[in-house]
Symmetry: C2
Subunit: 202 residues, 2 copies
């Protein structure tokens, strides 16, 4: 009865916060700046979320949920682990390219978590990473790997795709927007090859 219906402004706050946190990071974003985006005062934000940290938490929780749902869909699709991983790589690449802001958010969380974790302990991406790691371990090629090795592999894929996904400003500046567009269109196929190389043939 409380948080069921998404009070519109709450959602708007989360959306504005998501974009700004992605762009400027947690410490680079003030709650006043977020509120300004909606033409409201920062106290409205405090009213809804209690604190900056909690708002950030909600942003990341939503992101985490979205990815969890993606993973569930992929799991539900069934098939051998290799296929599921291949589908994940494709989907993740697609999401990373269409939502570079979310990719930035994840990268920032990866960087900041260590030190913010001391204050507000929440490792939002853990279930997401665990799920992937387990799938890698189901693979024929990696069934004898240790869990951290499997996670290292996951990091490799995530890192490769993420770095490209956030490179748009740089690539556009260095080579022009049209050249970038062409590269971007051709990229998913490259990722497919990459995934093949990582997780072995079907």
């Amino acid at each position: 009865m409380t948080a069921e219906a998404p009070h519109d402004t709450r959602t708007q706050f989360i959306e504005a916060a998501r974009q700004l946190f992605a762009e400027r990071g947690f410490y680079g974003t003030s709650i006043a700046a977020i509120a300004d985006e909606l033409g409201m005062t920062k106290q409205a934000l405090i009213h809804h979320f209690g604190s900056k940290e909690k708002l950030y938490g909600e942003v990341l929780a939503r992101l985490s949920n979205r990815f969890t749902r993606v993973l569930e869909d992929i799991e539900a699709g069934g098939g051998p682990a290799e296929d599921r991983l291949r589908r994940f790589c494709t989907t993740f690449c697609e999401i990373a390219l269409t939502h570079p802001d979310d990719t930035r958010l994840i990268m920032r969380e990866l960087l900041d978590n260590r030190q913010r974790a001391e204050q507000a302990d929440a490792w939002y991406l853990k279930p997401f990473l665990e799920n992937l790691t387990n799938t890698v371990l189901e693979t024929e090629r990696w069934q004898d790997a240790t869990p951290p090795e499997a996670l290292a592999l996951v990091y490799n894929v995530l890192g490769a795709v993420s770095y490209f996904a956030i490179s748009e400003p740089t690539l556009s500046r260095m080579f022009g927007p049209t050249e970038y567009e062409a590269t971007r269109r051709a990229y998913p196929d490259k990722v497919a090859l990459l995934a093949e190389g990582f997780f072995g043939t079907a």
Copy 2:
């Protein structure tokens, strides 16, 4: 005659700043915190560097120089582009693992550059990236690729390695430090395979 001899405190400031910027990011690090590290006041820092942004610039300039030197060494070693890239991957992996703070710094710069570039235009990593891109284009396998495609490849490698390199806290927390150590020791070999897959056989 001025900046030739590295006034020791100046160097100490740069070193302390490097660590804190890597750990907390530009906006998360106050000049007072940096100065505290040396038991000095923030005004001493201002005295030496003029502003926070300039200090940050020096930190990144040094990092950039270090990498440029690495690249020069590799170029000087000669051999086909494939060999040079392979050597780069090995070296970069080594550096990334032994200096995760520098890796963090680069990731943060990649994330922050877009918006800070508007204020203080400096794209410190550009020469580094250009050099690598050109080497990729010399490769037999990628000689027909477009420059942005080549840079995308570079990003893939950097991303894969960097993500793993900064994952130490996460991996240690999830699996314990000893398991992490084992994984880390085994990692360079994996990167070698990765590089092989990317840039083709010798």
